[in-house]
Symmetry: C2
Subunit: 208 residues, 2 copies
Amino acid sequence: MRSYGQYCGLARSLEIVGDRWNLLIVRQLLIAPARYRDLIDGLPGIATNLLADRLRDLEAAGVVERRPADKGSVIEYALTPWGAQLRQPIGSLIRWSTPLMVRGPEGDSFRPEWLALAVPALLDTRVKVRTSATVGLDIGDPPYQLCATRSGFEVGPQDGRDLDATLRADPATILGLAAGALTLTDAHTLGLVKIDGDESIVRTIFAA
Amino acid sequence: MRSYGQYCGLARSLEIVGDRWNLLIVRQLLIAPARYRDLIDGLPGIATNLLADRLRDLEAAGVVERRPADKGSVIEYALTPWGAQLRQPIGSLIRWSTPLMVRGPEGDSFRPEWLALAVPALLDTRVKVRTSATVGLDIGDPPYQLCATRSGFEVGPQDGRDLDATLRADPATILGLAAGALTLTDAHTLGLVKIDGDESIVRTIFAA
DNA sequence: CCGCATCCTCATGGATACTG
DNA sequence: CAGTATCCATGAGGATGCGG
């Protein structure tokens, strides 16, 4: 990206992450370190040459590092500690986007892994966690879960631990609940959610 | 901007504010509502056609509104309530940029008004305010001031109120102090700052 | 297959001149 | 002052190639 030539923190940030696709690449790597192919899959619409360019740029800027994957010569991309600190600006933008998300997908593609960033970003600043609990999220394949602990929320693929409840709803509903734009009671009377197991624990997690 | 086609809050945010210059326009309007000419002056390097385009886009998206200035037919641009909520993502990016800013201006242009966003963004999340005080900032024309209150920090042009102290330092030093990357003691022994008036009150404000 | 590099086309951005 | 119009350079997107 061409420099803005301004001695301003926002301008200098944007010279690193302001290029098209760059923050979305960081989003994918915040979810988990990934290989080239994983990034292509997690970033529907990106051109392969752009992904290669952007990964080089981000590596040169100190946001991303490329490293050998667990065993062998396959390489993997991950965030540096400084790059991982982009979780906060990205979380802020996700919260800001609530009015854009309640409209629903409208034909846009969706990947369950994106909830791994969005739901904690929405809940953490809004809900005081009282209960430790694990709730299944029935939003496609693979099955996901939301873990609530004292230190915050975590969303990821089900890891086999016992579920206190299972929440069956579409992504827009889950985001609405997490953002507090929708109460569980309303969602229930509208027929948007179905809860198996301990409903009270779900109610506690999404408490206003 | 071309759509990403992803049902993800970050992607949808970036479809609104991800275009080049857009967040910098919002930055200027977070400092204060402004007329077209003010924006041209506050955004060195922007082309006039781009500013016109972007203001149209942001207005259509509900981020900016155009309205008649105080009296007469002159128009002025201001943020909508939703647009003003971009203060948090922008503040996060400003905090993230600290490693990029401690390098100093390196020839980039600088406007004192940019500190009006940066210094509170850096101090608010780091320093517990104990004292109400007003400190002059000697960084050019017009003279600026930093007001500390219980509810937070505010930076703007001096409004004539009594100053408890005056801090004379270059912008990089002020940002380093605000970010906590530099202690007042270090800055003083390095000859980077000169303080007139009550030094202890300056020390309290920038306390680690 | 994976991890890119090349090529080509077209949309967008940037600089400047111009107008009501 | 507050933008438009114009022209040129750059960058995005898509298809494809290619070595390991």
